[in-house]
């Protein structure tokens, strides 16, 4: 992983939202429910944006500190990568 990767959803993984369950990542035989913060981060994982850019965008949107947001993103990215949902 580079220091500032462009994360994307792994092949065969997609994000879905439904009224009863909220946002989820669907993969083969697996579901991961996402909270609001995770959902807004994962929605940016399209393979074109760097983590630093995502942090800047979300910091503006939530009126928060980009450094803190970036730490949240990196934490989530590490977790979702280990679980096979995301490719850094």
């Amino acid at each position: 992983m580079t220091d500032d990767p462009k994360p994307r959803l792994a092949t065969g993984v997609k994000m879905r939202t439904d009224a009863a369950r909220g946002a989820m990542l669907l993969g083969p035989e697996r579901i991961l429910e996402l909270d609001d913060i995770a959902r807004s981060i994962v929605a940016q994982f399209d393979g074109t944006k760097r983590v630093s850019e995502i942090a800047a965008t979300l910091a503006k949107e939530y009126n928060a500190h980009a450094g803190e947001i970036r730490a949240d993103i990196e934490h989530l990215l590490k977790d979702l990568t280990a679980k096979g949902y995301v490719k850094p």
Partner: protein, 362 residues
């Protein structure tokens, strides 16, 4: 009482026809013939009802789903309904053209089963010459097409020593996920149990290999490990609990809480030809029979694991004890636990090496 949550998955057994004859097939002994299969229109309606009900994944399975000429049409119907589409196939019959067609229809994931790493031995188990070669080619096509690939390997005494090589193979093929699934002993597998059951020592050794590989391949290959109940201390939440997460629809339209449920006596199943999937989920007697915890006998009733394992597997309880509502003998608190373990130990030591291969009318 809280409202019944929506199911997550639909296992659509499109057909029981299959070019393979694996002796541990999860289809029932009494296989459905082609003439009794649901038509395209009924499957399409069922897939739409599944999505309306809140189902997320559809597993297009069989038998071998590729023998259905309308498979692409059904994939497309599922995709348009918003379902995550998973094709569960032997890989036999999957040409590049067919795969491109399926992908265009909205297919998202393909699970290819393998019988082992040695082609000759794998073909013996699949009961089809050239099966192993066809599978390798199918897996290559799936990855080349840019689709997600899961390799599924059913483990038994004849290939348990190959678990490390199976893991290497899945990695080499570019799979994102590997299922190391020990034989689940129902139907055909019970008939062949003496030729399939590995020893407990070999199981523990392979489990260690899987654990190590999981750590080594984290982020590269997801490995799901389905344990053999005969060597367990506690049961699994079979199907995520009876009538809790999954609906199985058989080729002739019967809606079952699990694919082996037709082996249980005294259950009547509703048919998607007559009722909607939503009505079946809510109201089918078969689904209500072992749903929740009220049906449980002692010591399950009040057990701290009652809502973890949901009582384990009803089909196994029936197969071993003769009572569908008895405690799953996989549980060490079952009075039949030691006897089931004894069956496994005896079968593991058996020199039996012939199979009753799965076939329609067999």
């Amino acid at each position: 009482m809280t409202a019944l949550p929506a199911p997550i998955g639909l296992l659509a057994e499109l057909t029981h026809r299959c070019p393979l004859g694996c002796p541990y097939c999860s289809n029932p002994l009494d296989l459905v013939r082609a003439s009794q299969e649901l038509d395209t229109k009924t499957w399409t309606r069922t897939l739409n009802e599944a999505a309306e009900l809140g189902i997320l994944h559809v597993h297009l399975s069989g038998g071998e789903p590729l023998v259905r000429n309308d498979l692409a049409e059904l994939v497309n119907a599922a995709h348009l309904a918003g379902l995550y589409t998973n094709l569960i196939t032997s890989g036999v019959g999957l040409s590049a053209q067919r795969l491109t067609e399926l992908r265009a229809a909205g297919l998202e994931h393909v699970q290819v089963s393998i019988q082992g790493v040695d082609a000759a031995r794998a073909d013996t188990v699949a009961h089809m010459k050239g099966a192993a070669k066809a599978k390798r080619e199918a897996a290559r096509l799936v990855v080349e097409e840019g689709l997600a690939l899961t390799v599924n390997a059913v483990i038994h005494k004849g290939n348990i020593a190959d678990v490390p090589a199976i893991i290497d193979l899945a990695e080499e093929w570019g799979a994102g996920r590997l299922e190391i699934a020990h034989v689940q002993y129902h139907g055909w597998a019970i008939a062949n149990r003496a030729s399939l059951m590995p020893s407990r020592e070999d199981f523990l050794e392979s489990a260690k290999t899987v654990e190590e590989a999981r750590k080594r391949l984290e982020g590269t290959l997801v490995i799901d490990h389905v344990m053999p109940d005969y060597y367990a201390e506690r049961p699994k939440a079979c199907m995520g609990g009876w009538g809790r997460q999954v609906i199985v629809v058989t080729p002739d339209g019967r809606a079952l809480p699990c694919h082996a449920a037709a082996s249980l006596p005294g259950l009547t199943f509703d048919n998607v030809r007559d009722r909607s999937l939503g009505e079946i989920w809510q109201g089918s007697e078969a689904f209500k029979k072992f749903r929740g915890t009220a049906w449980m006998p002692k010591p399950c009733q009040g057990c701290e694991r009652a809502e973890i394992d949901w009582g384990g597997c009803r089909c196994q309880a029936f197969a071993i004890t003769g009572e569908a509502a008895s405690t799953d003998p996989a549980c060490e608190l079952s009075k039949d636990h030691a006897r089931m373990r004894g069956l496994a130990v005896a079968d593991a030591a058996s020199a039996a090496n012939t199979f009753r291969f799965r076939r329609i009318g067999g």
